[in-house]
């Protein structure tokens, strides 16, 4: 449980090096053994515009935004104006006095320390390169928090030395020293030592997108085809550099329609295949999702959600694709939609997405979201011993021979799943078809066949609801609570932390349920969860209460549901949720 946490926010213009500064801080605190998560707030452009990177350090694993800032570093006036109201009593502010001559109106908080540091001037004077202002700022922070040099060196070694070489490493260390000296000698800064590190064991640090990529690789994904789009791009970038090393193949498609179609070509051919995208891309993919459903082609689609509609806010976060993921494309489509809520689930759900796609021969959509996809988290190492690979009903060559040419790709079965062959298999020839077809796969417009085929395909989703690979809802909170909370995605960790805040205040009268799948939907579980509760608050990041309405579509709990909605592009925080829950109750 998190007892102490510290939130450092670095703000400046895009192109100021804010992101890389944040990354270095992450490396340093990770080396020290703290729990950590980041929150990036950056514009959809390369140069100019406000950028902020917050690094939240804690004495346990943590995975949510903190709306309050303990240490604020600003390189321009705009950043101070944007973030000053996030300061609290006792916060510390470092501002670049070479650029900000007079700090704007200060917030009404007690005991805020303001340190004027000519970051840019110090950088130019010592290195002729203004970019070193970032490292000088790290030096100031490190000195204030009394961080041992070995962690700083390790941090720089892992971020700078490995990528940019020894010279850059040395210069950065020197810049860091300049910052530390400035803090000690010129500012006579106060030392404010961090609480002891919990030295978290068996921990890793990565982004949600990295966890998804690792999950896909581990699942044996061999084909990745995608079109670059924020905030999913990193998944495909990593696949491009890694997949060929493990015998797989990649292609950057000309658009998202081609991306999904090509991934499905891979699925039809017999390789585990995927595409990764965000809202605008999955909108384009809608028709092909229907093809995967009708033709029963296994494929995994990662949707890192961003705020829509249309282009919306490409670099911000939202949970607004819930409807689209279960409804998109015409007709009744068998599909599976699952929603990871943290790093561990990003990995595990992605692995199982490939199992589900193979077993139920249908498209599987994994819904991530920008806040989860692009932020770093320190989390326990993933449990590889729990990984199972199940390719479903794939019919062998010998068995095919025994059928004497009687192989039927879309054979009617009890669970709706028909054993499949892959091209190259003798005696397994069939037509994979997006037209309504009979058991052989050839076009059929016979009404009786149509009904049986529709029933067969839908039956698979019923079967999938009992699958051990389908992520099951998670429950936590006060067992005897009278009020409930339902959430999905990254709000899982945030609500957990909100509960610990309420616990400390003795105000936790809630229990919670995390929805991990939208299709098949855990209708009975939701009904059961709500049965003895007075009210159930559904917390989600979208305007129209999509999750709440999907619940209503599936379970008769309408009168109990209330909503907490946020759709400003920013993730919810535990503090906000705790406050809102107290009010709703």
């Amino acid at each position: 449980m998190i007892k102490n946490s510290l939130n450092i926010l670095i703000g400046g213009e895009a192109g100021d090096g804010i992101l890389s500064t944040g990354e270095i801080l992450c490396k340093i605190f990770f080396e020290m053994g703290y729990g950590l998560c980041t929150y990036k707030n950056f514009p959809s452009r390369i140069r100019g515009g406000h950028t902020a990177y917050s690094v939240r350090i804690a004495d346990d694993f943590c995975a949510g935004r903190d709306p309050e800032i303990d240490i604020l570093v600003v390189f321009d006036s705009e950043s101070f104006e944007i973030h000053k109201n996030e300061l609290k009593d006792g916060s510390v502010v470092f501002y670049d006095s070479s650029k900000i001559k007079v700090l704007g109106e200060k917030p009404d908080r007690k005991n805020i320390m303001y340190y004027a540091v000519p970051f840019a001037e110090l950088a130019s004077a010592n290195f002729q390169k203004p970019m070193f202002k970032n490292t000088i700022a790290i030096g100031c922070i490190a000195s204030m928090l009394n961080i041992d040099n070995k962690f700083i060196e390790n941090g720089f070694a892992k971020s700078i030395k490995s990528k940019k070489g020894d010279d850059a490493f040395d210069m950065n260390l020197r810049a860091c020293g300049i910052g530390a000296n400035y803090y000690n000698d010129s500012l006579k800064g106060v030392k404010n030592e961090l609480w002891p590190s919990p030295v978290l064991k068996n921990a890793l640090m990565m982004t949600g997108n990295e966890a998804i990529t690792l999950g896909a690789l581990t699942a044996g994904c061999k084909i990745a085809v995608a079109y670059p789009i924020s905030p999913a791009t990193e998944i495909f970038e990593s696949m491009c550099s890694l997949l060929p090393k493990y015998g797989g193949n990649v292609m950057q498609a000309e658009d998202e329609i081609a991306a999904l179609c090509a991934a499905m070509g891979g699925g039809f051919a017999g390789a585990r295949s995927m595409t990764s995208t965000s809202g605008p891309g999955i909108s384009l993919m809608a028709e092909a999702i229907g093809l995967a459903g009708c033709a029963e082609v296994p494929v995994v689609i990662i949707d890192a959600q961003r705020p829509g509609p249309s282009t919306g806010l490409p670099t911000k976060t939202e949970q607004g694709d819930y409807y689209h993921s279960i409804f998109c494309s015409h007709g009744d489509i068998p599909r599976i939609v699952i929603i990871p809520g943290n790093l561990k689930q990003c990995f595990e759900f992605t692995v199982n997405a490939f199992n589900l796609a193979d077993i139920y021969q249908c498209p599987v959509i994994v819904l991530s979201e920008q806040a989860l996809s692009q932020n770093k988290f320190v989390a326990p190492e993933f449990d590889f011993s729990a990984v199972t690979i199940d390719r479903g009903k794939m019919i062998g060559d010998n068995e095919l021979e025994g059928l004497n040419g009687g192989y039927l790709r879309y054979k009617f079965t009890d669970d709706g799943v028909s054993p499949r062959t892959i091209p190259g298999q003798k005696n397994g020839i069939y037509l994979c078809n997006g037209n309504e077809h009979c058991e052989s796969g050839r076009i059929s417009e016979d009404p009786l066949n149509r009904v049986k085929m529709m029933d067969k395909r839908q039956k698979k989703i019923e079967s999938a609801s009992k699958s051990k690979f389908l992520p099951q809802p998670e429950y936590f909170g006060n067992e005897s609570a009278e009020y409930g909370v339902i959430m999905a995605g990254s709000n899982y960790e945030t609500v957990k932390e909100a509960f610990s805040i309420l616990d400390r205040e003795g105000a936790n009268v809630f229990k919670a349920m995390q929805i991990t799948a939208l299709m098949p939907f855990p209708a009975e579980e939701v009904s059961e969860f709500c049965s003895n509760l007075k009210k159930v608050i559904v917390i989600e990041n979208n305007k129209t209460a999509q999750l709440s309405n999907i619940i209503k579509m599936n379970a008769p709990v309408h009168s109990k549901l209330r909503s907490i909605l946020k759709y400003d592009g920013v993730a919810l925080s535990a503090k906000e949720i705790a406050l809102a829950l107290k009010e709703v109750r």
């Binding site: 080396e31 890793l204 640090m205 990565m206 690789l217 581990t218 699942a219 061999k222 084909i223 085809v225 890694l242 060929p244 493990y246 015998g247 797989g248 193949n249 292609m251 498609a253 000309e254 658009d255 329609i257 081609a258 179609c261 090509a262 991934a263 499905m264 070509g265 891979g266 699925g267 039809f268 051919a269 017999g270 390789a271 585990r272 295949s273 028709e287 092909a288 229907g290 093809l291 033709a295 190492e381 993933f382 590889f384 990984v387 690979i389 390719r391 892959i422 091209p423 190259g424 298999q425 003798k426 397994g428 020839i429 069939y430 037509l431 994979c432 078809n433 796969g441 050839r442 076009i443």
Partner: protein, 296 residues
């Protein structure tokens, strides 16, 4: 054991009697036989339209996809299993209207698939509307005053995008068409074959007779074209000259056939086992990958 066209046929085609597509199916089957391919090693990927029903009637592995998407679907099949002969096919609406974007990029990529565009210059499955290859002035239900748009020149488009194999066939000559298709399949890289395949029901302008009057054997270009250019499919200049004259004189034969680096050639040489045929068992290598994200 040799296979026959009968072994490669499935069911009875629903094309209109006299439809040019019968000849394309037959020519493709003959090409497969001539090349000695095993039918289980062929994947025929089609879009939507009369012509895209080709995969319904060819008894090989087939994938009848959605409108305009035969090419990216076929590309995925090839990526996953380079050992397969992948043939994409469809009509002029499928390939040059809704799917035109994919065509250009597949050509650029030079991915090793064969694309047969069955061009009848009209939308037929929807019962007669103007198509991107319809001649100017062509009257249909959606162009009652005659088509107003310049038709796409398939050969010029392919050459402009950097094609390594461009050919033009005609449904009335199955033997010649079969040779062209076989050459296309044999070619390493993206092979584009535009087949003039008349629609006897909805195109009363571009009929068999009309095509016969307007086509010529490409090897006789010297006497057939005003420029008197000599047949040379290794020459871009020759191919461009033939392509530029497409609306005046329609060639039958191979315009262009050159070696260009094939998409993923280097990768292919490194991995003997196709992604589709790899066993998934060693997850320890990914555990090692995870360790890179851990603190020592």
């Amino acid at each position: 054991m040799t296979i026959t066209t009968k072994d490669l046929s499935y069911g009875k085609p629903t094309w209109c009697p006299g439809c040019g597509h019968f000849a394309v199916l037959n020519a493709l089957q003959r090409a497969i036989i001539e090349l000695g391919l095993k039918k289980e090693n062929i994947a025929c990927v089609t879009g939507i339209g009369c012509s895209s029903k080709l995969s319904e009637y060819l008894d090989t592995y087939g994938y009848h996809t959605i409108h305009g998407r035969s090419i990216p679907s076929a590309a995925g099949v090839k990526l996953a299993n380079p050992g397969l002969e992948v043939i994409a096919a469809g009509g002029d609406g499928d390939g040059f209207a809704i799917g035109c974007g994919h065509f250009v990029h597949a050509v650029r990529r030079n991915i090793d698939i064969t694309y047969i565009l069955m061009n009848n210059q009209v939308y037929s499955l929807t019962k007669g509307q103007t198509s991107p290859t319809s001649d100017r002035g062509f009257v249909t239900k959606t162009s009652p005053d005659g088509a107003e748009e310049t038709p796409i020149n398939p050969l010029l488009l392919a050459l402009a995008a950097g094609a390594s194999f461009v050919a033009s066939g005609f449904s009335s000559d199955v033997a010649e068409l079969s040779k062209i298709i076989a050459a296309g399949i044999r070619h390493k890289g993206f092979s584009f074959i535009n087949v003039m395949s008349p629609c006897v029901t909805f195109n009363k302008l571009n009929t068999y007779d009309w095509y016969k009057r307007n086509t010529y054997n490409i090897e006789e270009s010297e006497s057939e074209l005003d420029s008197g250019i000599k047949y040379n499919p290794k020459s871009y200049e020759f191919a461009m000259e033939v392509a530029m004259n497409f609306f005046i004189r329609k060639p039958v034969g191979i315009l262009f056939d050159v070696e260009v680096p094939v998409f993923k050639e280097t990768w292919l040489s490194q991995y003997p086992v196709a992604p589709a045929n790899q066993q998934i068992n060693d997850i320890s290598q990914y555990h090692k990958l995870m360790k890179q994200y851990c603190r020592e």
